[in-house]
Amino acid sequence: MKKPANALKERRQMNSNTLLLLITIALFFVMYIAGMIIYTDKGFSTVQTLCNLFVNNAALICVACGMTVVMLTGGIDISVGSLVALDCMVLCYGMANWNLSAPVAILLVLVIGIVMGVVQGFLVGYLEIQPFIVSMAGMFFARGMVSVISTDQLSITADINQAFYNFANARITFPFGATINRQGVAIYPYIRLGVVIALAVLIITFLILRYTKFGRGLYAVGGSEQSAAMMGLNVKRTKMMAYVTCSLLTTIGGICFCMNGLMASTTTADGFEMDAISSAVIGGTLLTGGVGNVIGSFFGVLINGTINALVQTDGRLASSWPNILTAALLCVFIVLQSIFAKIKEKSK
């Protein structure tokens, strides 16, 4: 008689996490459709608005994927925003002042990202220092290095690097969903290459988390380090690899960010780390580790982006509203999570 009861409970436990994910996804669609209805006259219902949502948040999607990987192990990485700024600065300064070609510059930032990840991962995994402190140091370091390289606002123009400029400005045009402008010319919606990179990152991360030994190891370590170690997992190495993955994905996000803005300054991507964390939390990833999924984080990013887009489209609201709304949403979600956790505990 015991077995069926247990199975039932297990199914209910699975459900509460899936339910949160479903709520997140539903919330995004509700918000977006409501926006389309309310702001039709301001052009919110065009396909291009949806494309812009992806174009503007391509970098955040990559970074949120990386953040999810780290959060699954029960850690946190608050250095991602500064790392994005460092990537942008190295790309801009490297191409303008060291005459690097685009592939070399991109390779250089990828190496920087991996080195940051290895150092932070080593400190967290092998030396058992708290992730928050380690990544705080990483944040200061990366932000400081941006200033060491240059305190000016740099930008990439066609004169500086034709190849990167063209790559960043390339459009992938859809053959449908056109809007007719005043001259009567049909304008087809487009996305930029950054979106393709971001979606590729999303799918690859999803597959890695779901089907590889490394991915399952992340969940195991996040669930219980002790059990994972007893099972024979190399906990230290898994943790370190999580930080390397996060920094690598963040660097890819940084490249997307640079392609979108084509400039760099000391304040680039300020507060990006908190956007990434809140996206992941809204998407159902627990900071305690072991629970979460990049699809949730992806919708978390879209919800964040939709709030920004709605406030921008409205135009009458003060600039501080996106922050307040995101925070309120975050509040609702973590309260929901805590209630679900309590129900789960009671059913045990």
Binding site: L123, E128, S147, L286, S320, I324, L330, I334
Partner: protein, 361 residues
């Protein structure tokens, strides 16, 4: 030998080593620049009509006041809930905005007259700080939400709410009574006095009442403390409340210092400094036992490092790189595996010595 060992294993050993190191760097630099070695410690009265205390030590104590006040609350929060309150910087800015808005009255962006008595404005700021602390405390203590996630809400919202309160303006309250809080009482800078009062009150409360012990016991094991008869939830809640109050106090001081409320600038990255102060003070961020004196030494150490860097001619933009390297060195030295490594080595050495002695006998 055993005395030395006792001293090096004291929790205050690392913070004190840090302070001494910073002082040494200053002294060496001063001597190298041809200044007398006591330049760093020189305190003198300025030549103005109303002389005030000046000198590098005074400036460190003065500028470090806000972080020192924040460090009090942060130490309690870290100890009781094994997590950090990352909202303190934003809450500081919100409290400053509320305080200045109340003082300015009819939403004039720039005023020299106080619309209400000074105490009302200060109280308004402090009450908002307490409310923010209570909000965080409720989420963490009652709803069992991870401290960092719970405080993430106010981290992003408080600054924005402050901007909303200010109607997107920077509110200037150029009033002498208000400026006193961030200025001078007689020759002594007021922030030093305020910080000293806060520290003394906190130390007295923690030493004379059982609160300090309760906080530590809840931090070490929440469940066991509850079974032993402590109201763990209430204690964690109170810690966050105190942390919010501390943020309120330092927010008011910070706004008085610049006689305005600039939501974007007040308390920026102060949460990081406060957490760092706790960590430098030798307190584990994993909760449990704490040492308030360590945190406060840590807070002033951070300010001393900043002042030293400016003194050495390092620009404020580059300073974070050195801060980062310092943090890493500090935490690596204190990391459990590193400590265990050194402990093993000294044990092996002792064993070796004992074996040699035995052989010689």
């Amino acid at each position: 030998m055993s005395k030395l060992k006792k001293f090096t294993q004291n929790q205050l050993f690392m913070p004190i080593v840090c302070v001494v190191l910073v002082l040494l760097i200053n002294v060496v630099y001063d001597v190298a620049q041809g200044r007398p070695f006591y330049e760093f410690f020189r305190i003198y009265l300025s030549d103005a009509a109303e002389p005030v205390l000046q000198g590098r030590l005074i400036s460190i104590l003065n500028r470090g006041s806000e972080v020192a006040i924040l460090a009090i609350g942060m130490t309690l929060v870290v100890s009781a809930s094994a997590g950090t309150d990352i909202s303190v910087g934003s809450v500081m800015s919100l409290c400053a905005c509320v305080c200045c808005t109340v003082l300015a009255g009819d939403m004039a962006p720039q005023t020299t007259e106080l619309a209400v008595p000074l105490i009302v404005g200060i109280l308004a700021g402090l009450v908002v700080g307490c409310l923010c602390g209570a909000f965080n405390g409720f989420l963490v203590a009652n709803l069992n939400i991870q401290p960092m996630v719970a405080t993430l809400i106010l981290y992003s919202a408080a600054r924005a709410i402050g901007l909303l309160v200010n109607h997107d303006f920077i509110i200037y309250v150029r009033n002498d009574t208000f400026a006193v809080l961030g200025g001078y009482v007689g020759p002594v800078p007021t922030p030093i006095i305020i910080a000293a009062v806060c520290i003394v009150v906190a130390l007295l409360v923690l030493k004379k009442t059982a609160l300090g012990m309760y906080v530590q016991s809840v931090g070490i094991n929440r469940k066991a403390s509850r079974i032993a008869g402590l109201n763990s939830t209430l204690i964690i809640f109170v810690c966050y409340l105190i942390c919010g109050l501390c943020a309120g106090v330092s927010g008011v001081v910070a706004s008085s210092r610049i006689t305005s409320a600039d939501p974007a600038a007040i308390g920026l990255t102060f949460e990081m400094d406060a957490i760092l102060a706790v960590a430098i003070g030798g307190n584990s961020l994993g909760g449990g036992k704490f040492n308030l004196a360590g945190s406060i030494i840590g807070a002033y150490t951070i300010q001393a490092i900043t002042t030293t860097m400016y003194n050495l001619g390092i620009s404020s933009a580059v300073a974070p790189v050195f801060k980062a390297i310092l943090i890493i060195i500090l935490v690596v030295v204190q990391a459990p595996p590193v400590k265990a490594f050194f402990a093993r080595r000294s044990a092996a050495r002792a064993l070796n010595a004992a074996q040699k002695e035995a052989a010689s006998v």
